[in-house]
Amino acid sequence: MSIIALYHVKGGVGKTAAAVNLSYLASLEGHPTLLIDLDPQGSASYYFRIRPSRGQRTARLIRGKKTIKSNLKGTDYDGLDALPAHMSYRNLDIALDSLKRSKTRLKELLVPLEEEYRYVFLDSPPNITLVSENIFNAADIILIPVIPTTLSVLAYEKLWTFFCDKNLDSSKMAAFYSMVEIHKKMHREIIRKTQVRGNRFLNSIVPYSVVVEKMGIYREPVPRYAPSTKAALAYTELWNEVKRLVP
């Protein structure tokens, strides 16, 4: 089982879109796949049209009183399940803080899923908290969507510093450019510069696209409703690159 986290400290960078599309592509290849929506806003859950079951509460979940399995929901696609987000996740930090081993709880939670899933995707909330540290510890790879703007790249570099300071394994981090508008000179410049520096950026570039924005309307993964668009191909390329990076 490989655990792939999608993470960024900022919202609106294409994180959830990537989590949904990549997990869909993984399942399409016949691999049992799970997406865990840890963002209390629940965008991934919205895209998959799933709601949490009654009784799916943070505290119960992380204390292991209720197994994670009983809360899983099948999506519309064979081989792809999801754990829907719950509003109580906004208090996840507080709940975690009161526990022992507060930084590795998520990792422990995922152990029983080992046999069932080949890939687990984590869609993270946009902040740096105890939850994110749990995600960093649990994941085999942390994918970071970066919009090619000065501030976004800066934020990414800050995250590097954070990893180093906290003694986290920075080799897990891999960034990719997201929401790229290639006709903009600044986007092209920034991408070129980072390419020169060879800064752990993946080769795949996900373009800014109306097709991706329409996910909210169709509530389906992009390769499902617009399979031959540039955006769908970009996600496919990204997935091909990512799956080679994980065990």
Partner: protein, 521 residues
Amino acid sequence: MKDSLFYTINFNDVRKLWRDIRAHHSCRSESRPAVTQVFFDTFDWRLWQKDLTLIREENDLKLSDVEPLQPSLRESWRRKAQPKFWWQFPDGPMKDALQSLLGVRALMSLAAIQKTRRTMSLLNEDGKTVLKIHHDYIHLKDVSERCKNIHILWLQPIRGYKNDLQKFQKFLRERDLTKSEEWVYSRILKAVGRRPGDYTSKFRLDLTPNLNSDKALRMILRYLIDVMKSNEEGIKADTDTEFLHDFRVSSRRIRSALGQIKGVLPKDKTDQFRRDFSILGKSTNRLRDLDVYLLKKEQYRELLPKHTVGGLDPFFQDVSDARRAELNKVKKFLKSSIYRELMSRWEEFIDTEMGGPGEEAKNAQKPVFEVAQRVIFRRYRQVIRGGKGIHDHSPDEQLHRLRIECKRLRYLLEFFACLFPKKDMLSLIGQLKKLQDNLGDFNDLCVQQEYLKEYLNQIKKNRVDALLTAAAIGGLITALSQKQRLVRSEFKQRFDVFSARGNHALFIKLFKPRLGGGAKG
């Protein structure tokens, strides 16, 4: 098996049901273009025995549970040829699984179907699918080339939406739809005239204790001849090496039965047939030997250090060439009038009842149970006598003789296993097998070394690779001879286990003839 989610339905009901579902649920339907599926298994149903099947769908191979037909492993297969042996698969979980499932047996295609699937997804208020209902329309040609259709309704539950499944099952119950009692795969196989498990290399025959020995022996021989016949095609087509192996085992069993169960069939006839079957065995000996060398290829290579392994390549090439020539000979033999005539003469003999009482052999009318006891016990005593006479320095010849005695005993135990308590027989056969494995390995290692020595003498010295080959063969002989010594040293312990008090008591209890001894319950 969990509660079945399959429903048998006929075509008209499907249309009505579809309308009905639409009227009562929010739903979306989709259909997929027809796909061709080919189902595979080995001749002796090794996948079926484990409730599995291998399906080729276009360029994909799927190893599936037979119920429901859902793949647990997939592998892409872009070759035009159908898959055959596990070692032809690309490295991966499928190859690993097939290695242990198939062994040396080849996959054979059993049935080809065309499947069209229509799916109705039931949606909740969010437009989320909560249950998928598939209608599989399976089209195939039956045994007599007539077209046949099977309609199946299959409910695919979605995780976390159990209530919706239950509600829909109730909906179907109200419409009197019956759950399918039979697996889809079974129905497909039945339609193409295949009966799963219709062949096994194990001896399986039911006899009753009071049956006339004459009848019983004929039944045994009939069974064995059928096994031989069913393996002929596979030998001629060179599907895999087990066809010849099973064919030979059956022919040996026949010879053994005729030689051991005496006084039941007329002696003059059985002597003639024993000679005939012996010729038949000899005419396939060499092909089997060559098969064994090729099957041992990897094992042999592992016995040698890396830098001399290459020397085995010319050897295996020669074996492979010799095998091709030998296979042609065997094929020709199976088609020859000599063979055909022997078989028909033989079948006629075992199927014809004996004439008047004067013609009958002395044990013909005795109950088979009595005869079985007597022949098994006699053979057992011979095995024990033979084994006890073997010590650390006994000549090889003595072990070979014991090996043959054991084989005879084994066949008898298997022929008559059904007449005695199953648990006891399994235990005795298991114990005997352990001893036989030791003796068999010892013999194989002797034969192999002899063959290799002979090969060594024949190597043409002017061949470029002569030296390297000779070195490799020499190394192999050394390794095999060391192995043989090890096997030999284990003999005594194995024999002691076999002849231990518990086994001995069981042999006496089951087989020692008693006056007025009765049959099993």
